[in-house]
Symmetry: C2
Subunit: 301 residues, 2 copies
């Protein structure tokens, strides 16, 4: 099965206590698709500017990402500049230039309309809804969002939430969206908005999955060296959705395995700046680390 | 096998966003022993003042805690008053009265010297060392500490660290003790100080265990209602050590099972103010929640 992401493509300038990287490939769609493509054919709907270099397109294509849905618009690519604190869970945004993203209207190529697994990356909920309405027979649609849309476009966001299967969101956003401090209550409140499952990303602490059917809680893969957390959440979502698409299943054992694969894929992303590690990665490394993760977390009852 | 704790006995006044409790039973030794006693015979070495009521002693005895090592000294019992933030991971200490704890010199009854499993609760490292030196043939000695001793008595702390098997410590203290921000590096640095294993308590995010032999990472039991986090870490340590003592084993599967049992025991503590839930708890509830935890975390590889 195919997996589609609609989301941002960006240049990122990143500063962490361990170094910096200037104008590297970034954006939720880029990280998602690179991660998903390890498991299933991945498709991007997004936009870049005239300044977007061919080398990035080549890197994505070589990784197995279909770029037919990637628009090139007059103007410059979306730009983000951020700095992480000593505690890498905290970051400051130093500069944002929306550029071509400001006028972006997602358009699905005809060949994408039959996509079974779709991820509506963090963007205006009206744009998410537009993509959703174009999908003919989706098996599973997941959504990400952020504080900006929660505060500025709550009505539109509610409409998308009513129509998606799964929400993939980080813990502070889950609290904001639900108005609940406790993470279990937050997840329960989000379920009432429509989705059948909520996945809460907790950064270095792992993932909490909640649905009427089951709860699953899993720690992150412990790493001795985290150079740059950028893209970890999107890599998680990509690995997760790619794995679901490959199994063509969205519940039970397959769901849990997909969450762990997403977790493990994201653990590579943060080992280098930008998507460098993800681009150099091969599937056997992911499978090896998955087995190592089983050893790290297994206990006998 | 028996399990011994040397640590504080206290009156706690606790304020959380969910309510308050005044002058309830508290202290690391109380929480530890109540938790440990579900699994193995538990012994306390500690001190209370003349104001300490019989009802608390009765509650401890009824829970299976031996109090021969509990001294009663002239003066008042150690008192702590704290307030938790909306984010329950953060708390402010509003008042501390050391009282009888100030002059406390731990004394082991002769019958305690053969204790196999001992926990040196958070206190002056010289007092921890004194207890350690009195144990004739300990199988496993674990230690807790806090920022105060890390900063004020680093030399003495180093001496105890050289002689204990295991350190049980929370994440911010692990960072402080090691000077490392990354939790894996922090654990590795602490191992170099002498212990063969480090257990890092991460509050609502679970536990990270690190040794030369193996790494184990496990999430906390997700709770919908946390009324009062006080004593969670000591309950974890008590459940963990009690379980090790019951199995008379300190590695491999038994170690991991003990960590999960500690985890599960602590999850009850925080469901009510002070040690109320822990005192009302019975072992079948712990076993039930253990099985539920297996379901919550299991995935098939």
């Amino acid at each position: 099965m195919n997996v589609l992401v609609v989301g941002s493509m960006a240049f990122d300038s990143i500063e962490t206590p361990h170094g910096r990287a200037d104008r590297v490939l970034g954006g939720s769609a880029a990280y998602f698709a690179l991660a998903a493509a390890f498991f299933a054919p991945a498709r991007i709907v997004g936009v870049v500017g005239e300044d977007f270099p061919d080398e990035h397109l080549t890197a994505l294509s070589r990784s197995g990402v279909d770029l037919e849905g990637l628009q090139r618009a007059p103007g410059k690519t979306f730009y983000w500049h951020g700095r992480y604190h000593e505690d890498l869970n905290v970051r400051d945004t130093l500069e944002v230039q929306l550029n071509v993203l400001e006028e972006f209207v997602p358009r699905l190529p005809a060949g994408y309309e039959d996509t079974e697994y779709a991820f509506l990356g963090n963007m205006h909920p009206a744009a998410q809804l537009e993509v959703l309405s174009r999908l003919k027979q989706p098996r599973l649609v997941a959504l990400d969002t952020m504080d900006h849309w929660i505060h500025e476009t709550p009505e539109e966001l509610r409409k998308v939430l009513e129509r998606v299967e799964t929400v993939v969101i980080n813990d502070s956003e889950a609290r904001m969206l639900s108005g609940q401090q406790n993470i279990v209550r937050a997840a329960r409140a989000i379920l009432k908005m429509g989705p059948r499952a909520v996945l809460i990303k907790r950064g270095e602490y792992g993932v909490f999955q909640f649905s009427d059917a089951a709860t699953f809680v899993v720690p992150a893969y412990p790493l001795e060296e985290v150079l740059d957390p950028t893209g970890a959440g999107d890599s998680f979502a990509g690995g997760f959705m790619g794995c679901l698409a490959a199994a063509d299943a969205g519940s039970g054992d397959a769901l849990r395995r997909a969450i762990v694969y997403g977790n493990v894929t994201a653990s590579f992303t943060v080992e280098d700046f930008g998507p460098r590690r993800l681009i150099a990665l091969d599937r056997t490394e992911i499978d090896e680390r998955y087995r190592r993760f089983v050893d790290l977390t297994r206990f006998h009852d």
